[in-house]
């Protein structure tokens, strides 16, 4: 029973961090109507930024993230403004030009990182990396708990941004009806660029929070892109609350799978959920299937 409880809690905490990453993807999906395949790759870039700050200046990832987030925000803003947006109206044979472009951009970053840091596995050991809290028989890793707390703070902050400020409302309005938002005087390119930046900054935050828990290598991004998409589908596109609940459910399912099935198959669990949703819940997916 203790194992079960611990597994659930561990997954729950993990899910909170996943949610932050997924919200980034949801925002981008909502406003720009594209799936950012480079999402995980750019998260990886943020992790390396934190890693570099940790090794050179000894900054803890929780502090370094406040450097990584503005960096990624800038990268995201520039990418949307000068690259992804440009191909939006190009008439192409392959319909998913923008999506393929995010993949290509992601690969560029992976290879840049590989050139600089090589393919080696890295990790960040902080003073409390291996500390645990004990509740009865259950042990809960301290860095996970702290990461979860910070993640929730981000989710809450974002929720306030989206519901209480004109900028946040403009983001939601653009996602819901682009033309109507233009009528209201919203500069769609500016909003989409800022949204892409914001999405990337959230991915960066998620990456920094994962850093004390995960090994780091240049190809770490792909599974996270997939996880973010699965969470988005679980929670329904374009909603913070949905992404949060989707993230928590996903985290717990993954954690249960790792403990009760096999640790190697941890990443497959998400895919199985994805398949099940696809096969048995097509109603909830209508927006996904028929654009």
């Amino acid at each position: 029973m203790a194992l079960f409880g611990q597994t659930i809690i561990c997954g729950f905490l993990m899910g909170g961090v996943y949610a932050v990453i997924a919200i980034g993807m949801t925002l981008i999906l909502g406003v720009m109507k594209i799936i950012n395949i480079g999402h995980g790759h750019l998260m990886m870039v943020a992790m390396y930024v934190c890693f570099a700050l940790f090794t050179s200046l000894g900054l803890h990832p929780y502090i370094a993230m406040f450097v990584a987030m503005p960096c990624l925000f800038g990268i995201g803003y520039l990418l949307q403004r000068y690259s992804i947006h440009r191909v939006r109206f190009v008439d192409t044979i392959l319909p998913q030009t923008q999506v393929l472009l995010t993949l290509a951009i992601g690969l560029v970053f992976v290879e840049i990182i590989r050139v600089i840091f090589k393919s080696d596995f890295r990790s960040v050991y902080t003073p409390f990396s291996s500390k645990c809290l004990y509740i009865g028989d259950m042990s809960i890793s301290l860095p996970q708990l702290i990461s979860f707390g910070i993640a929730m703070a981000f989710v809450a902050g974002l929720h306030i941004l989206l519901t209480r400020t004109d900028f946040g409302r403009s983001i939601r309005a653009t996602a819901q009806d682009l033309d109507a938002a233009k009528y209201m005087g919203v500069d769609a390119l500016r909003v989409s660029s800022l949204t892409f930046g914001l999405g990337m900054a959230l991915a960066a935050a998620g990456g920094a929070l994962l850093l004390p828990i995960f090994y780091l290598f240049p190809d770490i991004g792909v599974p996270f892109t997939i996880k973010a998409l699965i969470i988005t589908i679980l929670g329904g596109a374009g909603s913070t609350v949905g992404a949060l609940s989707g993230g928590l459910v996903f985290g717990m399912a993954e954690s249960l799978g790792a403990v009760y099935w096999a640790p190697g198959y941890k990443d497959v669990v998400g895919f199985v959920i994805f398949l099940l949703v696809l096969l048995f819940m097509p109603g909830g997916l209508k927006t996904v299937i028929k654009r």
Partner: protein
């Protein structure tokens, strides 16, 4: 739908058959890679370029083809050459349920779901050690030792077969239906085209061709492991080749694959020793630039490229 005469292909064919015996081993190796990627890009183009279902997970079929061949040897000691049958077969058998599920998705969701499929298969092959030997991989003995020429003719035949299959398909009802689905799925349904069924008809030869290339890879390289046959970069390279040459054109993917392999070897030869993996970075950059400025590839944007050199204004057909 290619309107090229038979003349150029015939010359190319004769050169491809007659020239290699006079080349050194290194150049033969490069030509082998060229032909392998020609087959794979042509296969990807069938589903992605003609039918419009750009898949980010086609490495799955490559890996399945390779493992189809490798596991014959691993479990029963059967010559992996039988893999040219078993490999594509395995790829197709796995492709069918994958297609049935993922074809329910459209656009970017399909692209990403195929990536998820490929990742899943990679993880399964890594972890299911009894089946696949896991991360250790499969090592076989090469049939012809260090000799390259027989391998070359083998892969030449595979490339020619894939081109022939795609050519015949595109000349027939299938071709018209594939392109109709790409151009407008709703309109296609309205014309009585069962789109999911025809996507499957495009997927099956696509998986077969790529699987065949994978089976060849097993025989030629004599070693495979999940991380070398299932990675994203293989899928991405297929996309790059097709996008570079021209998606939805007959010769485009072959052209793109050729340019890709030659450039890759050049970069590896010159830049490789200096900065490790920089040639991958250059590829990724090329991919970005191609998507941004030549989204329809060299063959698809022929007019645009000509204009660039001659400085002529575009000519619009029809109009007013």
């Amino acid at each position: 739908m290619a309107k090229k005469s038979w003349f150029l292909p015939a010359i190319l064919g004769i050169v491809a058959i007659a020239l290699p015996p006079f080349l050194g081993g290194y150049f033969q190796h490069i030509l082998i890679l060229v032909m392998m990627w020609v087959a794979m890009a042509t296969g990807w183009n069938l589903l992605g370029g003609y039918c419009g279902q750009a898949s980010l997970g086609s490495a799955a079929f490559f890996g399945l083809g390779a493992y189809g061949a490798g596991m014959l040897y691993l479990h029963w000691g059967i010559s992996p050459w039988w893999g040219v049958i078993a490999g594509p077969l395995l790829a197709i058998v796995v492709a069918i349920p994958i297609g049935l599920v993922t074809f329910r998705l459209r656009g970017g969701y399909f692209v990403l779901s195929m990536l998820a499929v490929c990742e899943t298969i990679r993880i399964i092959f890594l972890n299911w050690v009894e089946m696949s030997a896991g991360p250790l991989g499969i090592v076989i003995e090469r049939t012809w030792g260090m000799e390259k020429l027989p391998y070359y003719y083998m892969v030449l035949a595979i490339a020619a077969l894939s081109l022939y299959v795609v050519y015949r398909l595109m000349k027939s009802k299938f071709g018209y239906y594939f392109v109709s689905i790409r151009e407008d799925q709703d309109a296609a349904e309205g014309l009585g085209i069962p789109s999911t069924k025809y996507k499957m008809y495009a997927l099956i030869p696509c998986a077969g061709i790529i699987g065949l290339a994978g089976a060849f890879y097993m025989n030629y390289m004599a070693f495979i492991e999940p991380n070398t046959v299932f990675p994203l970069i293989i899928s991405a390279t297929m996309i790059l080749s097709v996008m570079l040459g021209g998606p939805g054109t007959f010769w485009g993917p072959a052209l793109g694959a050729t340019i890709f392999v030659l450039l890759s070897e050049l970069l590896r030869a010159f830049a490789g020793p200096v900065i490790g993996t920089i040639h991958y970075l250059i590829f990724a950059l090329i991919l970005v630039l191609v998507i941004m400025f030549l989204p329809n590839g060299i063959a698809g944007e022929g007019d645009k490229i000509k204009r660039l050199f001659r400085g002529k204004k575009p000519v619009y057909v029809g109009g007013e």
